[in-house]
């Protein structure tokens, strides 16, 4: 398809530098030069050379428009066909609802904020529950919400076009890359629902584009355009990491490039040190500070929008919860804690829960009653402050006696009446620490029920003679053993209901926040109600708390290993397109969607990675053997248009190989994009010096196969109506479960 002239022009163009092509303003001389009549445009070129010439000249604007139009068509067509909540729409729709209802929840915000925004624009009030498989009520304009998401997916196509162009690929290869993204069934399907993946994909593609643009500005350092693309890169990094933490992988790619770039500049001994310093500073600002600010901003909006109490409360600090509207925390609680007060005690570590005990016992160790940390709020979290056994027994009729820093107390579990207790028995999971149990009752017990209160901080007052609800952070030191009550983020096995293990740690580390506790709710009839929640926790503290809690709590999501999970798949299955994913129930009556890629794109790109590795090994071995067959420009081309996409593929793929959690096919999609770029590079590399006929033939074959397969598998993207047996023609393998036949 690429004309002979084309090839020549681009070859020289490449060497001229990208500037020529970038400033592709109509009428620039190098575009006008060429009256070459070649049937290079598959969008049916008329016979007159002049028209063809114009088409060729305007390709840079026509192609993106055509591709974008096609993208919008394939992503939007019949988008509202299925009126039921499909797959993870249940999940993300619900988050959108939380934003609209302004209920606090706990997850990275940017993408969900946008979902919430789309719901808001669609006039949705947040009242629908988004239960999987349920039909949307008429008042929800789910079509609009889906279109909103599809928009991000569609925009990826022209961006892929520009990226390929920035990577110095020839026109035919650019089209190949664009077509591979356009005619990718899995990209199409995933973009058509209320999911975050289209935004993630958008972010990844945009970051790559900005990086490539920035790279091509490398000889124009500190010029406005250079700064523009630097900051655009930073912005898109910020966006993509705010959508999903997977965005960190593309960030790593840009980081890798930046390090290499600076390293080369460092090796350039002709460059003055101030210039080098300016380069470093520009990147720190553009690629670290700017993205971080974007990330921070998304959380600022998150906190600003979510002012009502919601399902994510318990993960946050007590003080933060007290500031949410509609919360129970801190409401009418007496300010200062006295003996006889009934309290719940919150761990101040990231994502810490409430000190909890229940009648179940430890299956090993002491076999006494379990003590755990638990986020769910129930009566088993209630504890009474009691005086220690040497002290006068608690007298309910006497005046309240407040608890001061350094006092030794007992904690009595309200539901079972047992004392918080520790002894020299290894904890069930963290064997190097002591077990903590509930033991005895108000009268039976011993010195090992004694805990010394050590105040570490108080947000409200310097007065240490009293312990205050919410604001006082304290540690509990076991009097006999000298250890400290701690709830790290270690989960107990099933017998402990996967709740957090509570131990007594021998290490005395006052800065370990997992040993810090505060009173969250407090009732004592003899004390006047107060308003302990008037102290606000600072934004940055909440931000850090939320982020660390997010990272640590994610690890707790371990699936039941006995349960067959038909949706989950493993990393090795993705590049070979071994499995797809049923996005909804497979009933004959409903519209069915199946998440599966275009076989040519998957298999071709995977093979391309192998071919690239061989190519690289070949050239490196030859180079070491003294062959200098590649020009500097060619080496650069392999390096930036070949090696970096491959590195991007590794960065997006390997983490899922290592990661122990459940993975799904759509986790491969960002990596696939880089594999596609590699494929484009290889096609370009191997065909650039071939005869025109060979080039045209191969490209024509690839285009036709791509489009053909895309259309062939189209029903799985646009929705399969009627009995699934009708679609058994697509079931090439048993593991492609688009039909039960």
């Amino acid at each position: 398809m690429a004309s002979g002239y084309d090839r020549a022009a681009v070859v020289s163009g490449a060497d001229l530098g990208d500037a020529a092509r970038r400033r592709n303003v109509p009428g620039t001389p190098q575009q006008v030069l060429v009256p070459q009549p070649q049937g290079d445009d598959k969008k049916k070129a008329p016979k007159q050379p002049s028209v063809l010439d114009v088409l060729d000249q305007w390709e840079w604007v026509i192609s993106p428009i055509v591709f974008t139009a096609l993208a919008f068509f394939t992503r939007f067509y019949k988008i509202g066909l299925s009126p039921i909540v499909t797959w993870d729409e249940a999940h993300f729709g619900k988050f959108g609802s939380h934003y609209l209802k302004r209920e606090f929840y706990f997850d990275p915000p940017a993408g969900k904020l946008l979902v919430g925004l789309s719901g808001y624009l669609a006039g949705y009030n947040g009242s629908f529950e988004f239960k999987s498989g349920e039909t949307y009520p008429p008042e929800i304009n789910y079509t609009f919400m889906r279109q909103f998401n599809a928009f991000w997916g569609a925009v990826c196509v022209p961006m892929a076009y520009w990226t390929a162009k920035e990577l110095n690929l020839r026109r035919a290869a650019v089209w190949l890359v664009t077509l591979m993204v356009l005619c990718e069934n899995s990209y199409t399907t995933i973009s058509r629902f209320i999911l975050l993946d289209s935004m993630l994909l958008f972010g990844t593609v945009a970051t790559t584009l900005c990086w490539a643009k920035f790279h091509n500005q490398r000889r124009n350092s500190f010029e406005p355009e250079w700064f523009f693309w630097l900051f655009m890169t930073g912005l898109s990094i910020g966006f993509v990491t705010s959508v999903k933490l997977v965005g960190l992988f593309v960030t790593a790619l840009v980081g890798l490039y930046t390090i290499e770039d600076l390293w080369n500049k460092f090796g350039d001994i002709k460059m003055p040190i101030p210039v080098l310093a300016a380069h470093v500073a520009a990147r720190v600002v553009g690629l670290i500070i700017l993205p971080f600010l974007v990330y921070l901003l998304s959380f600022a909006i998150h906190f600003a929008v979510l002012t009502n109490s919601g399902p994510g409360d318990a993960q946050m600090s007590s003080l933060f919860q007290a500031n949410l509207r509609g919360t129970e925390v801190g409401r009418d609680s007496p300010l200062e804690v006295a003996y006889g007060s009934q309290v719940t005690i919150k761990n101040m570590g990231y994502g810490g829960g409430l000190l909890h005990s229940h009648v179940q016992t430890y299956p090993e160790g002491s076999s006494q009653q379990q003590v755990t940390c638990y986020h769910h709020k129930d009566a088993n979290n209630n504890w009474f402050f009691y005086p220690n056994r040497r002290d006068a027994p608690y007298d309910p009729t006497a005046d309240p006696r407040f608890i001061a820093d350094g006092e030794t107390i007992r904690l009595l579990h309200a539901q079972t009446g047992r004392n918080l207790h520790s002894h020299q028995i290894a904890a069930p999971v963290s064997k190097s620490q002591w077990e903590v149990s509930s033991y005895g009752n108000a009268t039976i017990g011993d010195e090992k029920d004694h805990w010394k209160v050590e105040v570490v901080s108080d947000a409200a007052s310097r007065d240490r003679s009293k312990i205050r609800t919410l604001t006082t952070g304290f540690r509990l030191k076991h009097e006999v053993l000298g250890c400290y009550l701690r709830a790290g983020n270690v989960n107990l096995p099933q017998w402990g209901f996967k709740q957090i293990e509570v131990t007594c740690t021998k290490e005395n580390n006052p800065r370990d926040t997992y040993t810090h506790w505060n009173i969250e709710s407090h009732t004592n009839e003899k004390l006047p109600p107060g308003d302990p929640g008037q102290y606000k926790s600072p934004f940055l503290k909440d931000f850090i708390h939320l982020n660390v809690a997010m990272m640590t709590s994610n690890n707790a999501l371990v699936p039941d290993p006995d349960k067959q999970d038909d949706l989950a798949s493993q990393w090795w299955q993705w590049p070979i397109l071994n499995v797809g994913l049923r996005m909804c129930s497979w009933d004959d009556k409903i519209v069915k969607y199946f998440l599966l890629g275009n076989p040519l794109v998957y298999w071709g790109s995977t093979a391309g990675l192998g071919v690239f590795a061989l190519l690289l090994v070949w050239y490196v071995l030859r180079w070491q053997r003294g062959y200098r067959e590649l020009s500097h420009a060619e080496i650069d081309q392999i390096h930036y248009a070949g090696l970096y996409p491959v590195a991007g593929w590794f960065l997006h793929y390997l983490p899922f190989v290592i990661m122990a959690r459940v993975t799904y096919v759509h986790h491969y999609y960002p990596a696939l994009y880089f594999a596609i770029l590699t494929f484009g590079f290889l096609a370009d590399w191997f065909l650039r010096n071939q005869k025109v006929a060979v080039q045209s033939g191969v490209y024509a074959l690839l285009y036709t196969a791509l489009v053909g397969l895309y259309v062939y598998f189209m029903p799985i993207c646009w929705g399969m109506t009627g009995p699934n047996k009708d679609y058994s023609y697509m079931k090439w393998f048993d593991s492609w479960r688009m039909s039960d036949a």
Binding site: W263, F266, G267, I269, E364, G365, S366, S367, Q368, H423, Q424, I425, A426, V429, S430, K431, S432, G440, I444, G445, D446, D560, P561, D562, K563, Q564, D566, L621, Q624, R625, G626
Partner: protein
């Protein structure tokens, strides 16, 4: 030997040491560099075979010194220490030939066994617990300890020769050997029956061989493919094989050799002016053969010996597949008829877990439906027998159904069971049928699982909940007929409950005591496929005579067994994730943050801790190199031409090799989730010490311009003074290594960091006190330790560790009598002590009564000493205050042993099941079960319980 004559300035040539003790250089031919020379610049021939006689005398002296230091009081302690529990135990299993599973390859264990066997060990000692006495049963433990000790002794001369091979001065090399001798940690490991000392000598030997080979290689074509070159290359390969056959840590050594070999090959490949493709291919193939083929063959040969030794079933069976097990004596089985027919009496086995056969016995579920239990039971037994019935009774010639369970025995044609057939499974001994219904299973109360029971009575026709559909899983079945209809062993199938659509399922979940901890069987909707697969192992049908087609387990052959064992070892190793009281993470190793409590008894203690001087110096040397490399790389990028100086190049390459060895033996541990211990750092430490000595050598004797090289006295004085310093530190800490008497004061004095958590209170106040201590504690604590689960996790709870402080805490103690404790007679005497450990006499106790609460605390002990001086433990409850009984009951919390116990997280329970299940009351009609119990030799029982108690 060729040296590049023209290419470098004379000043930069590393001249041989002026005179000094190291005239290592052979006369060099003065020839100019040959055309095809590819030798490296600045390299001398350091072949250790060409060392002068004085050096060999020194080697001898070093060896003698090392032997004296290592063998000093090697018979002390006279009881089981730390992991001797495992490695001693494996020796008995080898001698008995009983199959076991361990995460380490066999070589070192085989050699330990060899030493024990030569010394007359008969395998009748179970090494059950730390602190168990060796003397009385007459275990030749000294001989067994001799093997690691010999390895430890040889490590010192190995270090000497390695440093010589790397071109160091003799004084430097002697210092290196001295550091190895006086490293407390290496010493501690080398005096006990552990794998680390053999591992160290194997690693050290590999390093020596590869260093010598590298030296020969760098000398270029004059030495390539010469005798010495080949010798050291082969030795490197052999060393790698040995290292890998001791512990998988050898893989890191392989990585080290592999990485440096690739560098060498890369340089050769790039030397296109002098190295032809033909020469390169020769180099390449030589390495492939020596560094891949030799180690692999050696490794596999070790497993060959392993399999030759272990021919009997043992406690490791449960890890292996049925095919594997059938190769063990008495586990093999007769061939069975291949075709399964309606009316066949079969035993059905679960594929994925080694839980055993589908089993039922006349005991009811206490929960759910309260119907008869269905479990998995690992032993052959009549209660595993099921009769396969068709959904409906067959029709006779008149079209009338034939009733009775033997209705299928006289049908005209063979009633095969094809895919999709609907069956009823009739439990022959109890006349009930396999049944499932919408009731939650007893343990796994998930809503997607249903209970499975046996239901009905003799003559009962059954109901629709007895129907199970056979679904053959073709992918897992042998191709051919076995994919079409049920065949013994070859067909793997699912049993789908027709009424509810759930699938018969089992997983590694034990039922509680009421089912003798047998494995749970449920019916699951959407369970994983592997856990839903079953196959038929035994088959009996009157229609199938002796001439019917028969099948048996395929013999996996050596390679099949080898590969399966590798996979099981890998899985088990990765599964060792439980935390341990003495484990530590890699970041704490180079700074020697804490050690491991090995043993404690009689006011003595063995605690694994390194020599801080040596330890920190090694770390410092590594840091120094990293710093140097960092600066060098920065300067290189800035086009400073540092690397034109040969001595710098040599410094970079030689120290770099050692530091790479350190890094490759250290950083991979960061990736491991399993429990790790300080002793995992030893191979890295060895390379660290090497790096330190090389840095020392370069600074004092090779780098010109700082004024030290010209003055050989500096090198020697430095070496001697550093050695003296290390020896001092060694001496200070040595009581912990040898288990010698010590005093509290001295102990506290050398405790530099609070994280060094050995317990100084263990020791007495003065050395004199050790002479006067009554023999009570000495003899007494042995039974105390061996009693199951008595050790307090107090000081971290390594078994055998009994910190005196805790024993002496106030109050009286009471602890249960070990169940199988044999007493000749008891004289009850309770020792009362106050919080300071002072013995209270009876008046004092009386006086205190009422004022003080005498509490039994979990970690305290009643000392009852009988006339023989054997201490026994009081039965629980005598003085145990009621409220504490619970704690006492919980004393089984023995923290597991490091290293091997992953094997045990499953085995012990399984073994318990083996032994305990057959109790008649639990399986009343299972004749075989009762027999099985009676027939088992006593020793096997010990074996099993050893596994349970010792390694859990």
């Amino acid at each position: 030997m060729a040296r590049p004559a023209s290419s470098k300035p004379p000043a930069a040539r590393p001249s041989p040491p002026p005179k000094g003790p190291a005239p290592t250089q052979v006369p060099k031919p003065k020839a100019t560099k040959r055309k095809d020379d590819y030798s490296s610049e600045g390299v001398d021939d350091n072949d250790v075979f060409l060392l002068p006689g004085s050096d060999f005398q020194l080697v001898l002296a070093i060896t003698v010194l090392a032997a004296a230091v290592r063998l000093f009081r090697i018979s002390q302690p006279t009881s089981v220490v730390f992991d001797e529990v495992h490695f001693g135990g494996f020796a008995s299993k080898y001698i008995k030939g009983r199959f076991f599973m361990d995460v380490h390859p066999p070589l070192a264990k085989l050699l330990i066994t060899l030493f024990g066997w030569l010394a007359g060990f008969d395998g009748n000692f179970d090494f059950k617990d730390i602190g168990k006495d060796y003397l009385e049963p007459g275990v030749p433990y000294v001989a067994m300890r001799m093997f690691p000790a010999i390895c430890g002794i040889l490590l010192a001369p190995t270090m000497f020769l390695t440093l010589k091979g790397a071109g160091c001065r003799t004084s430097t090399a002697a210092m290196g050997a001295g550091l190895v001798i006086f490293e407390n940690g290496l010493l501690t490991q080398a005096r006990l029956i552990l794998l680390d000392s053999p591992l160290m000598i194997a690693t050290g030997f590999t390093a020596l061989a590869f260093t010598c080979f590298t030296n020969q290689q760098e000398l270029g074509p004059s030495r390539a493919f010469g005798l010495s070159w080949w010798f050291w290359l082969v030795m490197t390969g052999l060393g790698l094989g040995i290292t890998l056959s001791i512990k998988w840590v050898g893989l890191f050594t392989i990585a080290w050799v592999g990485a440096l070999t690739l560098v060498q090959l890369w340089v050769l490949w790039g030397n296109y002016k002098n190295v032809t493709i033909r020469i390169f291919t020769k180099h390449f193939l030589a390495r492939v053969f020596c560094l891949i083929v030799i180690p692999l063959t050696f490794y596999m040969a070790m497993f060959g010996i392993h399999f030759l030794c272990l021919v009997n079933p043992g406690d490791g069976d449960g890890f292996m597949s049925s095919e594997f097990q059938s190769t063990l004596n008495s586990k093999g089985m007769q061939s069975v008829p291949a075709d399964i027919l309606m009316g066949s009496r079969v035993s059905i086995r679960h594929v994925n877990t080694q839980g055993g056969y589908l089993h039922s016995h006349p005991l009811m579920y206490p929960t759910g439906s309260k119907q008869q239990q269905i479990t998995l039971y690992p032993h052959k037994d009549d209660n595993n027998l099921w009769l396969l019935e068709n959904q409906t009774q067959p029709l006779d010639v008149h079209g009338e159904p034939i009733n009775g369970t033997n209705a299928w025995y006289n049908l005209p044609e063979l009633p095969y069971i094809s895919n999709g057939a609907i069956l009823r499974l009739y439990h022959l001994p109890t006349h009930r049928r396999l049944h499932s219904h919408d009731v939650r299973p007893p343990v796994t109360e998930a809503d997607w699982q249903n209970e499975v029971s046996a239901y009905g009575y003799e003559g009962f026709d059954g109901d629709a909940n007895d129907f199970f559909r056979v679904e053959i899983v073709k992918k897992k079945s042998k191709s051919g007929v076995a994919q079409e209809r049920l065949r013994t062993i070859d067909t793997k199938f699912r049993l789908v409950h027709v009424m509810t659509g759930c699938v018969l399922f089992s997983h590694k979940v034990k039922l509680p005591d009421w089912a003798s901890e047998q494995q749970e069987v449920t019916c699951a909707r959407g369970g994983t496929l592997p856990n839903s697969l079953w196959y038929i192992e035994s088959n009996d049908h009157p229609k199938l005579g002796p001439d019917a087609e028969r099948v048996n387990y395929a013999n996996p052959g050596f390679f099949g067994k080898f590969w399966e064992l590798q996979k099981v070892m890998w899985k088990t190793n990765a599964g060792l994730v439980e935390s341990h009281a003495w484990d530590s993470r890699p970041p704490s190793w180079p700074i020697l943050r804490r050690g491991i409590n090995f043993w404690g008894k009689d006011h003595r203690q063995i605690y694994l801790i390194g020599n801080p001087i040596i330890w920190f110096s090694a770390t410092a040397a590594v840091l120094l190199y990293v710093l140097f490399k960092g600066i060098a790389v920065l300067r290189w990028q800035r086009s400073c031409n540092d690397y034109s100086i040969p001595v710098l190049k040599r410094f970079d390459y030689e120290i770099g090799s050692s530091v790479l060895g350190w890094a490759l033996h250290y950083f991979p541990f960061y990736l491991m989730q399993r429990q790790l211990f300080l002793h995992h750092y030893f191979p890295a430490l060895y390379f660290g010490i090497m790096a330190f000595c090389q840095v020392f050598d370069f600074v004092t004797a090779r780098i010109s311009g700082i004024g030290l090289r010209e003055n050989p006295i500096v090198n020697r004085a430095g070496a001697i003074s550093f050695l003296v310093l290390s020896m001092a530190a060694f001496t200070l800490l040595s009581p912990l290594a040898y288990g010698n008497p010590w005093t509290k004061a001295e102990c506290n004095r050398v405790k530099l960091f609070s994280t060094w958590d050995w317990d100084c209170n263990t020791f007495l106040d003065s050395y004199d006190a050790y002479n006067t201590v009554p023999s009570i504690p000495a003899a007494a604590q042995t039974p105390l330790q061996s009693a199951k689960g008595q050790q307090p996790p107090v000081a971290g709870g390594q078994q055998g560790q009994v910190p005196m402080a805790d024993i002496l805490k106030p109050g009286v103690s009471g602890a249960p009598l070990a169940p199988n404790q044999r007493l000749l007679h008891t004289e009850e005497r309770v020792e009362y002590r106050d919080q300071d450990g002072n013995l209270l006499d009876e008046e004092q106790v009386k006086a205190l009564e009422g004022k003080v609460e005498f509490k039994t605390r979990y970690e305290t002990r009643t000392r009852v000493v009988d006339a023989d001086g054997n201490e026994v433990l009081l039965p629980a409850g005598e003085q145990v205050p009621e409220q504490k009984a619970q704690e006492d009951a919980a004393e089984g919390v023995a923290p597991p042993h490091p290293d091997v116990e992953g094997a045990n997280s499953e085995t012990p329970k399984r073994v318990v099941a083996d032994e305990e299940i057959p109790e008649p009351k639990q399986s009343v009609e299972g004749e075989k079960e009762r027999e099985g119990k009676a027939a088992k030799p006593a020793s096997e029982k010990n074996e099993a319980s050893a596994k349970v108690d010792g390694e859990l």
